[in-house]
Symmetry: C2
Subunit: 273 residues, 2 copies
DNA sequence: AACCAATGTATCAATTTGGTACAATGGTAC
DNA sequence: GTACCATTGTACCAAATTGATACATTGGTT
């Protein structure tokens, strides 16, 4: 069990460990063949999950260090930037086709601390010269993803030994400007909280009103009145009640709900809260 | 007077022509010294102005062609990406410190049509080899700017002979994916229409309620009820009435308004409409 | 002086929201 | 079984917001 400020949760499985080795090989290959990547541009993914009434973010830790970072990567010359982001996401979670959205490009001149960069390279046993492609200046394009916490299989890449969930409110220190990137991702997520996109991607197929409200509260960072939330959600007409009831702990059993199939047009501008 | 689908307006002045020559020199210099730019990344600016109750966008036309494009440029290794965007904006408008915000990065593999790229290079008398830095793959980071239409001085760069305003609803065909970029800029602008950021940057110091409403309607793409708009705007408490009245054409003279000085904190999430 | 269209304001119904009350319920304790 | 209880679903009311219409004001035209 990985612990970090009490926030991490170990999702690594045997299956993940197998993938880990595969990707490690692939990664070493990349370093030799940097010509295949678009120079100066990297991608970083803020992968959100929801569990225990908390927003989680997927992080990797570089091998032989205690340095945490967002899962990231580079763009092959032959692929679209969005495809690259999808590939990176899939490599870390083993999930295909999940909700993924670009939210901002980070271009500060000094955003990558070169001494940290070197420390990482040395720790993973790569001596890189000062004109190595990786030590050149990069801008990074941020994507956030919304994934089903239980379905994702966190999988380290060749430069990391851990890939795991961390609670958003107890993140370890992150390398470079990654803390800023997470913050911005959350901001953009709030800005786009409307319509059902958020819930239907962060929650399992069916869920209780309580879980849905807790998700909203977590993202918005404020408490909502239970009864009014209930009313509002039902009035939007995007939920349907699953007729089976819940059976678990004490007290009254809540209904389960699921999101209705959506028409393609998005009500992107409608405000919910 | 530049005409294009009836939408263009010629803002070029004698002052602008002087700047034009200066920048042309600067640009030629750049082409030789491509080492000074960050590879693979360009910037394109969607510069919005408001005039005649219409949203305008600043465009450039490449020399000896009829090809229109967004004003753009590259990032010096020594400058932040945001600074580069500011510099590009200033070069085309002679305006400093205007409202400028990054909105999206465009990374499709084939987003730049190489045959068009070559045609432009030839037209401005540059023969570029297929491995010239400019013919490599680029992602472009989009920024939108909100400027006072009357204060901007549209100024072509070295590769263009015209820099001018075009009505958003009568744009000429644009090169590459620039039409998509404009569309996305508008979308993001709508998403962020809240608080007074928009108005205070697209309108002159003082303005009538009618002008403000017209701006909102243009950006949102829908009609609003005059009386309710009036009420809402006043209730937000962000306007102050300038005691002088208006004196112009026929009928009753409207009050003039201006935006109050804003506290630094932004009410970014508050919905207005 | 009569008129007119644009402007500022008032008003009212419909809707939405914030907040409280209360009945229903599925389990626990005894 | 019965009393109890925290949680859930729903009802309800007052306050605030919004949609829509009416109307008084006014600067200039004819």
């Amino acid at each position: 069990m990985v612990q970090w400020y009490g926030g991490c949760w170990n999702g690594t499985t045997i299956f993940a460990k197998k993938n880990f080795m595969e990707h490690r090989e692939a990664h070493l290959e990349h370093l030799e063949e940097d010509q295949r990547f678009l120079p100066s541009v990297s991608i970083d993914c803020v992968i959100f999950g929801f569990h225990d009434n908390q927003l989680k973010v997927l992080l990797v830790r570089f091998r032989n260090t205690s340095l945490w970072a967002l899962p990231g990567g580079y763009i092959y010359l032959s692929e679209d930037m969005d495809s690259a982001a999808n590939r990176i996401l899939e490599e870390r979670t083993a999930l295909k086709g999940v909700y993924l959205e670009q939210f901002y490009a980070f271009g500060q001149r000094e955003r990558v601390d070169q001494s940290v960069q070197r420390a990482i390279a040395e720790a993973i046993n790569k001596s890189i010269s000062s004109d190595h492609w990786i030590s050149k200046r990069f801008i990074t394009v941020g994507y956030y993803a919304l994934v089903d916490f239980l379905k994702a299989i966190p999988t380290p890449d060749g430069s990391s030994d851990i890939c795991d969930w961390c609670s958003l409110d107890a993140l370890p220190p992150l390398v470079f400007d990654h803390a800023v990137i997470v913050q911005k991702a959350l901001e953009m997520l709030r800005l786009r909280l409307n319509n059902n996109l958020i819930g239907s991607n962060l929650l399992p197929e069916t869920f209780t009103m309580q879980e849905l409200q807790s998700l909203y509260e977590t993202i918005l960072g404020e408490k909502l009145l239970r009864t009014n939330f209930h009313r509002k959600m039902l009035s939007l007409g995007i939920l349907e009640r699953v007729e089976k009831k819940f059976s678990g702990r004490a007290h009254k059993a809540p209904y389960l709900y699921r999101f209705k199939e959506q028409k393609e047009e998005r009500l992107f501008l409608e405000k919910v809260f």
